[in-house]
């Protein structure tokens, strides 16, 4: 885990003020037709919000709970000509770059406001605290490591990788060794145990598609798993089809996953989806010598090849 993981609510409040000012200015001048940020939703949960006027910009928030990746919501505004503003921290910018590198939204239509980040808390955990404790945490920022988002634990990109303007100073970056402990645990199991494990696990899945819908790498115009002809995914919510859904989707984002873990976080029944994504990321890194697989590149590992690639193991 990065050493300097911390939330500084006071600093975040200053950022919030600066953000509101900048977004307000952009909107007031007509430089953007809408600014995508967070606003305070139910019970203090920051939720995606398109501010459309300088006045609405005053509703933008920046606080320890801004976990939701905004980039995917840009796709709601594909139709339209106007420029959009968006605010991103480190992982938010990875999500944005995923959308941009997949050429799903034109960079020219964006004004990106970047915010260097030192950590964000898991809203579910914080909002579940008794009122007094919650208030204390949100005011002081003093909180145990387990309250941070899982992805903060392996973050090596705290500074936005794409931005037009920055609020706040860049923070020191730290190389974080790519470790996938859970994958190693599963790899150590016997094969039959593993299939049984996945079958038992994915039986919980209610096929709500929240994981797919929040994933920035899952950004197809029409998801092939929604198609009827060919019917890639049977509509029956039975373990056999649940396995197919998740196994296929994980491979479809293989090499493009930004390791944000939003899929896991929004899952209402608590399926540890990153077990699949991490495995693919680990293998791709090992097999093709990719340095930072979770940082979007112009061409991803599976979208390219090397003449010296190894042949499929065990084949001839």
């Amino acid at each position: 885990m990065p050493k300097n993981l911390a939330v500084d609510p006071k600093k975040m409040k200053e950022t919030e003020t600066a953000l509101r000012a900048e977004a307000g200015k952009l909107l007031g001048e007509g430089a953007v037709t809408a600014f995508l940020g967070h606003e305070e939703g139910w019970d203090g949960l920051p939720v995606p919000f398109f501010a459309a006027t300088a006045d609405e910009a005053k509703r933008l928030v920046w606080n320890p709970l801004v976990a939701f990746n905004l980039a995917k919501h840009l796709l709601d505004r594909l139709d339209g000509e106007g420029k959009l503003g968006i605010v991103v921290n480190g992982c938010g910018s990875l999500a944005l770059n995923r959308i941009l590198k997949d050429r799903r939204f034109p960079r020219e239509r964006l004004h990106v406001v970047g915010v260097p980040c030192t950590g964000v808390l898991d809203p579910d955990k914080v909002l579940a605290l008794p009122d007094a404790e919650r208030k204390e945490v949100l005011q002081s920022g003093k909180v145990g490591a387990e309250f941070f988002l899982k992805r903060c634990g392996w973050c090596d990109a705290p500074n936005p990788v794409v931005y037009d303007s920055l609020i706040g100073d860049k923070v020191p970056e730290e190389a974080v060794p790519p470790l996938y402990p859970r994958v190693a645990e599963l790899e150590a199991m016997k094969a039959e145990e593993r299939l049984a494990y996945f079958q038992g696990l994915y039986e919980k899945c209610i096929r709500c598609f929240a994981c797919r819908n929040v994933c920035p790498a899952c950004n197809c115009r029409e998801c092939s798993l929604d198609q009827w002809d060919p019917l890639w995914l049977g509509r029956a919510a039975v373990p056999s089809e649940q396995l197919m859904y998740h196994f296929i989707r994980a491979f479809d984002v293989a090499g493009r996953c930004i390791r944000c873990g939003e899929c896991e976080r929004v899952c209402s029944v608590g399926v540890p989806l990153m077990e699949l994504n991490d495995k693919l990321m680990k293998d791709i890194t090992e097999l093709f010598g990719v340095q930072r697989p979770h940082v979007p590149a112009d061409i991803e590992p599976l979208g390219q090849f090397d003449m010296g690639d190894p042949d499929v193991e065990g084949s001839h």
Partner: protein, 367 residues
């Protein structure tokens, strides 16, 4: 909504004896109940030997008990193409067996009411859904009065209480009244013939479901009244929700565009909701044989209403968000005279962007 239905039978069930009772019921029924799975309370069919793990402490399960009357995947007809002795093709079909009777156990009173709201859709009106009826006729609902309402509960906004008996065949009330279940037992009160039969069955007796001591009659009444007097913090704050009439004039209101912006178009709210019931029909199979089944669908999915030919009447998110809340708070009310929501709070807990019914109902009041 004051309620005081007359109990048909009363018994005492010890907390310690719950496992044995459920195991006895499992001999002739599929027993479904709340169990902790990897830290989350889920509602599901209990595996053999799991009866002792039923968790009645969590206020409600992440998923709802509607799976007991409307499975997420329900085979409707099985078909098979064979050849007869002369080599001519013959088609045979059969309706799959809907299985043994089901005891839907350990649900909250709001969830029991929700089942009744589903019954209105499937069992009344011009068309009675045969598959639903066949399954429903075999279901006995045993609810547990909520010891402590959760932060997200708002059943009283719809005139319900944590001690409601509507929709339940049997209600278990903690002997010591509301609050953490410190008492050693539950009063098991049957309100229907089905419930009476369950409590009086040989299996139940043998498993320790005992007659109520004569001296406890008043104590039981008091406990029941206390549960029915409980308020939920959120429901108390929201007050009674009565927006059906107002919504009549709000279809074209710009509110829907604004509030739906945050939605991610998943089906979480729909699938955890105890009163959502929309379904699609599909086929699966191999060459020469297959099954036609129905499966839960969500009006939030962009493709939900896509029709043959490709036309989609609800391509925009705002239309789909509007649809959900109009259905819950207006359309169903027009048809059946009450709201299609019981204030269970699952949408409040599960929606990743907090776009749920209390939010919208509150906002609509202010429009």
């Amino acid at each position: 909504m004051a309620e005081s239905p007359v109990p048909k039978a009363t018994r005492l069930v010890t907390k310690a004896g719950l496992g044995a009772w459920l195991a006895a019921l499992a001999a002739d029924n599929t027993v479904m109940g709340p169990v902790m799975v990897d830290g989350k309370p889920l509602f599901r069919a209990l595996a053999a030997g799991q009866e002792g793990d039923v968790d009645l402490e969590s206020v409600h399960t992440v998923n709802s008990p509607k799976v007991g009357v409307l499975p997420q995947t329900e085979p409707m007809v099985r078909y098979r193409l064979d050849k007869d002795s002369g080599g001519a093709p013959t088609l045979s079909t059969e309706a799959p067996d809907s299985g043994p009777p089901v005891v839907v156990f350990g649900v909250r009173p709001c969830d029991a009411v929700a089942i009744e709201l589903l019954d209105k859709v499937f069992l009344t009106g011009d068309f009675v859904d045969g598959a639903y009826k066949e399954r429903r006729d075999k279901v006995t609902v045993v609810s547990v009065a909520c010891p402590v309402p959760a932060k997200s509960c708002f059943c009283d906004s719809f005139g319900l209480t944590p001690g409601a008996s509507r929709g339940a065949d049997v209600v278990l009330y903690g002997r010591s009244g509301p609050g953490k279940v410190e008492g050693d037992a539950y009063y098991a009160v049957a309100y229907t013939d089905r419930g009476e039969a369950l409590l009086g069955s040989a299996g139940s007796k043998a498993a320790g479901v005992a007659d109520l001591p004569g001296t406890e009659g008043q104590k039981m009444e008091n406990a029941i009244s206390s549960f029915r007097a409980l308020k939920t913090p959120l429901g108390d704050k929201l007050g009674r929700i009565d927006v059906a009439g107002k919504l009549d004039g709000l279809f074209e209101n710009p509110y829907w565009e604004k509030i739906s912006a945050r939605c991610v178009s998943c089906g979480t709210c729909t699938f955890v909701c105890p009163t959502c019931y929309c379904f699609g029909v599909a086929d699966t199979g191999a060459a020469g044989q297959g099954v036609r089944f129905r499966y839960w669908d969500s009006c939030k999915f962009p493709q939900f209403l896509t029709m043959a030919g490709g036309h989609n009447p609800r391509p925009a998110k705002k239309m789909r968000s509007r649809q959900r809340f109009m259905h819950k708070l207006n359309y169903y009310h027009h048809r059946y005279g009450e709201y299609l929501c019981v204030g269970c709070g699952r949408c409040v807990e599960s929606c990743p962007v907090g776009l749920h019914l209390p939010l919208v109902a509150g906002d609509v009041r202010g429009l």
